[in-house]
Each structure stands twice: as structure tokens, then as C-alpha cells.
């Protein structure tokens, strides 16, 4: 059945450990040609480490990763010929002009000499930087730098483009604009895009399929639509004042008909229910019976946030768990060594 599907990226039980920390834990996934695949997870979940393995910067501890059926560990050179990599940090050279940056990128990626100028002109039009091409990058805004960086990654028309947190640190309007550019280049060149993000909206807007990753493990892979659909129909969020009847409140809630799942996060509850409008009155009935004060309640259609919470048990937040702190600490120590 898989003979007529072409995969740009395939990993089999991919694992990467640093000492006794496992950053990437047994990841198996396949990304089809031309697909936009997103890795969604909090900082420290293993997204960047995975990208670094797929782009040949790190060797896997065990397992295998193939890009266009070349093994990243044993055929690194061929892999490098087939990929573009746009890093999380903006890496364009501030001292050079926009055009010089692209020229450098073209030379690094062995674009034939007689095609370089044409390709650069074409890409400058696409990212709308033609007017600024001869200005040094110091004069560019953050969004323009990012656009230039992305342009550099696809100048040589790679089969697979890796975008590591493409909009991190940009304001919301710039972020939306970058999304438009990413869609535009995907329409134009039809390459496979593998991106990582910790922004729900970004994953929702751009990706054909999403893999939710937490603590180095993939929790689920599916399209954003399916993930949301699988949540049941509606999401009820409750904030209540904690009291002695908390436990019985929770167990009563679980007994309500149509309630499929409850996530507890301190005094915040998230209920996933197939018939929210009928559930809410029942919640109020139970709370008044148990003398629990509800501060707020809302009923919404499920978002990717809810999907994330339901699979990982927590919201996406930056480095809030002890575990992440420990990992960051270990990373700092490695950098210092």
C-alpha cells in the first residue's frame, strides 16, 4: 500500500540522548512529498533536536532517519543536497546586503553560476525585498530579516525545507505575514516543509498534519481538523473557588451524561462534552448542591490548545516544569564545558 506514496522524511524509532537525558524518544513518523508537517510542543520538548538530526547536525543515538530515502547518518552529503534549513535564530549576515546574503547562500548550495542572478531576482520578488536588496541587513526590520533568511533556505529549491520556529520573537502582524509567505512559497515550489512551533495558531494555519510532541515523545499525529474533531463537540472551561468539597465536585462532574473527559489544572477545569449546552445547567446544579462557587464558565468549540491539553495534560508554556529547568541547566553546563 505504501509503494505509491513517496516519503520525503521517514524516521524509525529515532532516539537522541545527551548523557542520561533523552531529548528525542523513539520517534517514528513519515512525511509525504509536498506536505507541510508541523511539530508542535513546548520549549525543550525535543523539536529542535529532531530537526538537528534530520539536517545532519547531530547523529542519532539509535534509530534511523531518512530524507528522500538518504540516511542522515550515513549519507549526510546527499541529505545536505536535498534540504534547506532555516534556523530558529535569524542567521543572515548583518554586515552584508540582502542580495549578498542570498549570493552567499547560492554559492554554499552550489547553484550553477549562470542561474544565480535569475534565482535571486525571482526570490526577491517573491519575498518583496527587491527594493531593499542593496541595503545592508542592519537596516532591515525583524520581519524582513526573517523573510530573507527563509528565502536563503529555499533558493536552491530543496526537496525538504526545515523551518525551526519560523515566527518566534516576531509580533503578531509580522507573524501573520510570514505565514502568508510560507504558504506562498509552498504553492510556488511545492516542496515538503517540516516546521516546529509552539504556537497553536501557527500549526493550525499552516500544517497539513501535526505531530504533538512532549518530553521527547510523539503523543499523536493527525491533521488539525481531525484532531479537533476527535475532541468531541464542545469545550467547557470552568474556574472555581477551591473548597473542601472539591473532590466530590469532580467526581459528580464526571458522572454527567455527555461529558467525555475532564482535565484538572488547579482551580481550572476543562470539560470535553458532546452536548455542552445541556451539560452547563447540570454543572450549576451540582455546584450549588455542594456549595462550590464557580467564578467563571465558558463554552467554546475545541481549539488546538484543547487538543494539546488533552494529549499532554498541560498547557503549552515556556519551560515551566522542573524537568525542563533541569534540562536547560544540563545544556548550559555542556555549553560551558
Amino acid at each position: 500500500m505504501r509503494s505509491n506514496v513517496l516519503y520525503s522524511i521517514e524516521t524509525k524509532s529515532l532516539t537522541k540522548s545527551f548523557g542520561d537525558e533523552t531529548a528525542v524518544n523513539d520517534i517514528s513518523l513519515s512525511v509525504e512529498d509536498g506536505e507541510i508537517f508541523g511539530f508542535l510542543g513546548p520549549n525543550g520538548a525535543g523539536k529542535s533536536t529532531t530537526i538537528m538530526i534530520l539536517t545532519t547536525l547531530l547523529k542519532p543515538t539509535s534509530g534511523q532517519a531518512l530524507i528522500s530515502s538518504f540516511d542522515v547518518a550515513t549519507n549526510a552529503k546527499q541529505v545536505r543536497q536535498n534540504i534547506g534549513y532555516v534556523q530558529q535564530e535569524i542567521t543572515v549576515d548583518e554586515y552584508l546586503t540582502g542580495r549578498e546574503n542570498l549570493l552567499l547562500q547560492a554559492k554554499l548550495n552550489h547553484i550553477p553560476k549562470n542561474e544565480i542572478d535569475k534565482r535571486i531576482d525571482e526570490i526577491l520578488t517573491l519575498i518583496e525585498l527587491t527594493d531593499k536588496q542593496d541595503k545592508t541587513v542592519v537596516t532591515y526590520s525583524g520581519g524582513m530579516r526573517k523573510r530573507l533568511d527563509i528565502a536563503g533556505g529555499l533558493l536552491h529549491r530543496p526537496k525538504v525545507l526545515f523551518l525551526d520556529e519560523p515566527t518566534v520573537g516576531l509580533d503578531i502582524q509580522t507573524r501573520r505575514k510570514i505565514w502568508q509567505y510560507i504558504k506562498k512559497i509552498h504553492d510556488e515550489f511545492k516542496m515538503t516543509i517540516f516546521l516546529t512551533t509552539h504556537y497553536m495558531e501557527e500549526a493550525d494555519q499552516l500544517c497539513d498534519r501535526i505531530g504533538i510532541i512532549d518530553d521527547g515523545k510523539i503523543q499523536v499525529i493527525d491533521s488539525p481538523e481531525n484532531l479537533k474533531k476527535a475532541m468531541g463537540n464542545e469545550v467547557i472551561s470552568i474556574i472555581f473557588e477551591e473548597g473542601e468539597n472539591r473532590d466530590s465536585f469532580l467526581s459528580e462532574l464526571e458522572k454527567i451524561e455527555f461529558v467525555n473527559k475532564i482535565n484538572k489544572d488547579g482551580s481550572k477545569l476543562t470539560l470535553f462534552a458532546s452536548n455542552g449546552t445541556e451539560v452547563i445547567p447540570k454543572i450549576f446544579y451540582i455546584s450549588s448542591k455542594l456549595n462550590i462557587k464557580i467564578t467563571s464558565i465558558s463554552l467554546t468549540q475545541p481549539t488546538l490548545d484543547d487538543v494539546f491539553i488533552s494529549y499532554t495534560g498541560h498547557e503549552i508554556r515556556d519551560g515551566d516544569s522542573k524537568f525542563n529547568q533541569k534540562r536547560e541547566h544540563a545544556k548550559m553546563k555542556r555549553l560551558r564545558a
Binding site: L57, K77, H110
Partner: protein, 261 residues
């Protein structure tokens, strides 16, 4: 091989572009060697009889100018690799490492750029020396002298690129570089003739490629051959040094950048 040359040129081009646009340091870096020529050259002018005792007829300042030219080359090239650390920190290195160019080309491109910059600095020092009246009997010799400086700096920049690739921090880099730079300069005939060094120090100096480079430049500048080492030997040592350094630097650089930073 062709690809290696093309890729080396790509990195060379990038380094020079960066250098051109961030030149603010050029003049500052000239101040120190200028002070060497002016202060040390005049302070030790009384040592002329010592210099003459080994067959050198000119003034002390003429004797030591080649030493200062090489001093400039030593420090320009041994400091030159420091941007490798920035490249690793700010992502250019990862960009280059995920492109099809070879790791050796990155090292060699950096080395050739540093070597050219070093020759530029050295030529400015020659200019300063001429301006303050140092006698230069045969100005056409500046061409082979530049050739020697380029070769020497190419080898020396290998040390810098290697240390920068191995060091994970600026502190380590500067520590190691300062530890290496000054002794290599001091244990050579840069300031005093080889013949006047104690035997054991002269022995060590003869293991130092800086020694042979200075002897070559001095002979070309002043016409006096000193130390009893034939030109062909000095040239041979210099070429061997460059080839060995290019090889070791490529190897060490490749090994180090393949490790996570």
C-alpha cells in the same frame, strides 16, 4: 578537488566581505606594531655593536623591522579565527554545515581570508617603517616579502581556526591564543640575532617556524643573511609548515564542528 576550491573561495569571499564592512579595527591594530618599531627600535639603538658583531651593518631599527612585520602577521592571523566562535553561536556555522560544502573548505576558506588580511596589515607596517625612515635598499623585494607573509599567515591562521573550533567559549580561546602567541614571537630572532641567544634558547628557536620566516624577510629586506641558515632551508621549512598546518587544521576543524556546540 574543484569543488573544494570553489567552496573554499565561497568562504574566503564571505570572510573578506565581512572584513571590508567591519574595518574599524584596522588602524587600532596598527598602533601596537608601530609602537614596537618606534619605541623598541629606538630604545635598543645602542645595541648596534652587538648586531654588527654578527655581520649586520645597519642600524638596530632596520634589524628589527622584519621582526615587527612578522609580529603583525603572527597576531593578525592567530586572532583571526575568533569569528569561528561567533559563527557557531549565531548560526552561520550550522547554515554552512547543513549545505553541501565540505568542512575542510570552511577551515581553508577562513585561513586564506585571514592570511590575506594579515598581509594587508603587514604591508601597512612596512609603510609605517618607510615613513619613519627605515632604510629599504631594494623596494622591489616587497613582492616576495608579501608572498612570505601570506604563506606564513596561512599556516599560523590554522592554529587560530583550530583553537576556535575546539574552544567552546571566548575565554578559552583568548587564554590559549595568548599563551601561544607571545612565546612564539619571543623565542625567535625577531628582536636579536640567533647567534646572541643562549644555546638552549637558540635550539628551541630553531624549532619555531617564526624563526625561519623572520630570517627570510630580513634577508630580503636588508640583504644580510644571518644565522647561517640557507634560504632554501628556510623556504622548505615554511612550505612544510603551511602544508602541515592546513592538513591538521582541516582535520581538527572537521572533527570539532561535527560535535554539538
Amino acid at each position: 578537488m574543484n569543488t573544494l576550491m570553489y567552496d573554499t573561495y565561497t568562504i574566503f569571499w564571505r570572510e573578506l566581505k565581512r572584513y571590508k564592512k567591519s574595518r574599524s579595527g584596522v588602524l587600532i591594530r596598527l598602533i601596537q606594531p608601530a609602537i614596537w618599531i618606534i619605541v623598541i627600535g629606538n630604545t635598543f639603538s645602542g645595541t648596534q655593536p652587538l648586531i654588527q658583531s654578527v655581520g649586520f651593518q645597519g642600524e638596530y631599527i632596520e634589524f628589527m623591522t622584519p621582526g615587527v612585520i612578522i609580529l603583525t602577521a603572527i597576531f593578525t592571523s592567530i586572532f583571526g579565527g575568533v569569528n569561528t566562535l561567533w559563527d557557531r553561536r549565531y548560526g552561520f556555522m550550522n547554515k554552512a554545515l547543513t549545505s553541501p560544502i565540505s568542512r575542510s573548505a570552511i577551515a581553508l576558506g577562513k585561513m586564506s581570508a585571514i592570511s590575506l588580511i594579515s598581509a594587508l596589515q603587514a604591508s601597512l607596517i612596512i609603510g609605517i617603517a618607510l615613513a619613519i625612515g627605515v632604510n629599504f635598499p631594494n623596494p622591489i623585494m616587497i613582492i616576495p616579502i608579501m608572498g612570505i607573509v601570506i604563506l606564513f599567515s596561512l599556516g599560523f591562521s590554522g592554529i587560530s581556526v583550530m583553537v576556535a573550533a575546539t574552544a567552546k567559549s571566548q575565554e578559552t580561546f583568548w587564554g590559549v591564543i595568548n599563551f601561544l602567541g607571545m612565546p612564539l614571537f619571543m623565542i625567535s630572532p625577531a628582536l636579536f640575532p640567533l647567534e646572541l641567544l643562549p644555546d638552549w634558547l637558540a635550539m628551541i628557536a630553531k624549532l619555531n617556524p617564526v624563526t625561519y620566516t623572520i630570517l627570510l624577510v630580513r634577508e630580503m629586506m636588508t640583504g644580510v643573511s644571518e644565522g647561517g641558515i640557507p634560504i632554501i632551508i628556510s623556504l622548505g621549512v615554511l612550505f612544510a609548515f603551511v602544508i602541515v598546518m592546513a592538513g591538521i587544521a582541516s582535520y581538527v576543524f572537521t572533527r570539532e564542528v561535527n560535535r554539538p556546540f
